[in-house]
Symmetry: C2
Subunit: 357 residues, 2 copies
Amino acid sequence: MVERKNPSWKKYVRQVTPYTPGEQSDDADIIKLNTNENPYPPCKGVRDALKDFDYESLRKYPDPAIRELRAEIANYHNVGMENVFVGVGSDDVIAMCYMTFFNSAKAILFPDITYSFYDVWAEEFGVPYEKQPLTDDFRIVESDYYEENGGIIIPNPNAPTGIAEGKDFFRKIVAHNTDSIVIVDEAYVDFGAESVDSLIHSCDNLIVVRTLSKSRSLAGSRIGYALADEELIKAMHDVKYSFNSYTIDRITMKLGVEAIKDEAYFRENVEKIICTKNWTYNKLKDLGFEVFESSSNFLFAKPKGISAADLYKELKARKILVRFFDKPRINEYLRITIGTDDEMAKFIDVVSDILSK
Amino acid sequence: MVERKNPSWKKYVRQVTPYTPGEQSDDADIIKLNTNENPYPPCKGVRDALKDFDYESLRKYPDPAIRELRAEIANYHNVGMENVFVGVGSDDVIAMCYMTFFNSAKAILFPDITYSFYDVWAEEFGVPYEKQPLTDDFRIVESDYYEENGGIIIPNPNAPTGIAEGKDFFRKIVAHNTDSIVIVDEAYVDFGAESVDSLIHSCDNLIVVRTLSKSRSLAGSRIGYALADEELIKAMHDVKYSFNSYTIDRITMKLGVEAIKDEAYFRENVEKIICTKNWTYNKLKDLGFEVFESSSNFLFAKPKGISAADLYKELKARKILVRFFDKPRINEYLRITIGTDDEMAKFIDVVSDILSK
């Protein structure tokens, strides 16, 4: 093709800073502690639903209203189906929140150290934003969210620190912002934090976002959801139906229903991960790491005697992936996802070995 | 909850005209000829991939770059993987095109009678648009797309008419618009029209959009894709990765690969539908209907001796769903999806019966 210098469509291409997703690998040799996946498989109901699925039904569109799954989620949280919005992972849900609610000229607020997608969405949708600095010990300051704003988004527990705040903390932020939409992103809440889901009954400006990717072991299926007052959910559905009517496919909906249903397996799975997390926490402390108390399925830790960047590289060379963020304030830390007991024992052995060299 | 009159977040909710998706029903009694689904199941490879799928792998994220499926699609179209973008149905793909490329102040152009989502997206994203009227016999006028514009989107064959234009028609429109992005939406192209996919090698401003929902019988799985010059695909990926990195789940990717691979089944399936379409076309003509020559898997037809609205209602009362659009210029027509031979024979019988009353 003849190379054309400057066709004018190039001027109108949306300018974004491309987001590079974390390293993905299905290599069985690798211990993958870098993307906060669950080390255990989904529940047996997921296996059976897959086995029993009638492939012939795939010729037909799925239910655009995703009713069966929304009803199951509503039942689990003791809310109505009209309080539930389901999307293709919580990223899709939060992107829809930005599009639906963050349209004022005022800046939205979120912590300076947090999920790295919040500013990516703001840039993508042209939403002004301000980052509120965490304290030196990486805590969110409640009163930073009392100033005028165009919306608020805070994860609880926060990422990549794993530090959680209590229900009262969020109750106060929501009460101080009755003219804004406040999103609490509870991606990791099941691993030890307190959910604010029950507050949606009394707060018409609160959106609680969840995912089945972590505590329900379904990262490979792409399901996230929002809980909120009926009016907010309706506004999100209007925007979603104007974007893509059919998002959750027939198989995914069935698997999601099963994953929510099996509460016993879910609780057992979460408990195992919390135990392994506590064991790992103590081992890292023994090795001289500075480690934060984590309410999530990962630990945020500063190694002793080696830089985080170097330890990341040494681990990678030994086929263990952890997450290193080359960003101000956190480039001395590693985020370590909690794997199985065996994986974490191996991880601690390898770290000890690297440190002893 | 105390009803609050006017919290100011309400002012900043994105205003959209909610799109209402077509009627969906899994009721086996109903003959469903209203959403252009394929009456035949997906290929056996889809069944087997589902049966063999390792449910334990669902705990891990899918490949954000969707490489296995993009490689299979690239192979089918004789292009490179860098020329392929995959989304959650073609609606997701086109929404990403709008976000990526339709950002100028100039109006984008599309036909006045066409896929009803084009203006919905324009409204959602605040893109100015102009509808170019079809001729009285529902043909697209090439020269209507030579005026200055911010982008062009045309389906081929057009919906809901089913009328196709040839490759030269689009070659000329693309050549006249080297400063705009031109999207040709080929959702129904496999049922009798000529694809412009090979033009992407020579036209750096052309995007060809496809779906696996119709000719590949995978409406229930949500897979669409775009073919274009590498630079356009890269720009779309940048926007997509800033919106939602992981869209196509692990199972869907495998099923998509199988559906593309089985070309023999695909061709046989399409041929059957074309035969049934021709039979139905003749029967409707015999009943006095005005019917357009269709290159798609549906017929657009004007009944004789009864209004389209009334025939729609009478059919629905007899458990046959077809599509009626209560819109100017087309409210005297019905869009009838081609089902199996048995379904269409039943449909013709019922129509004859209604007309004879």
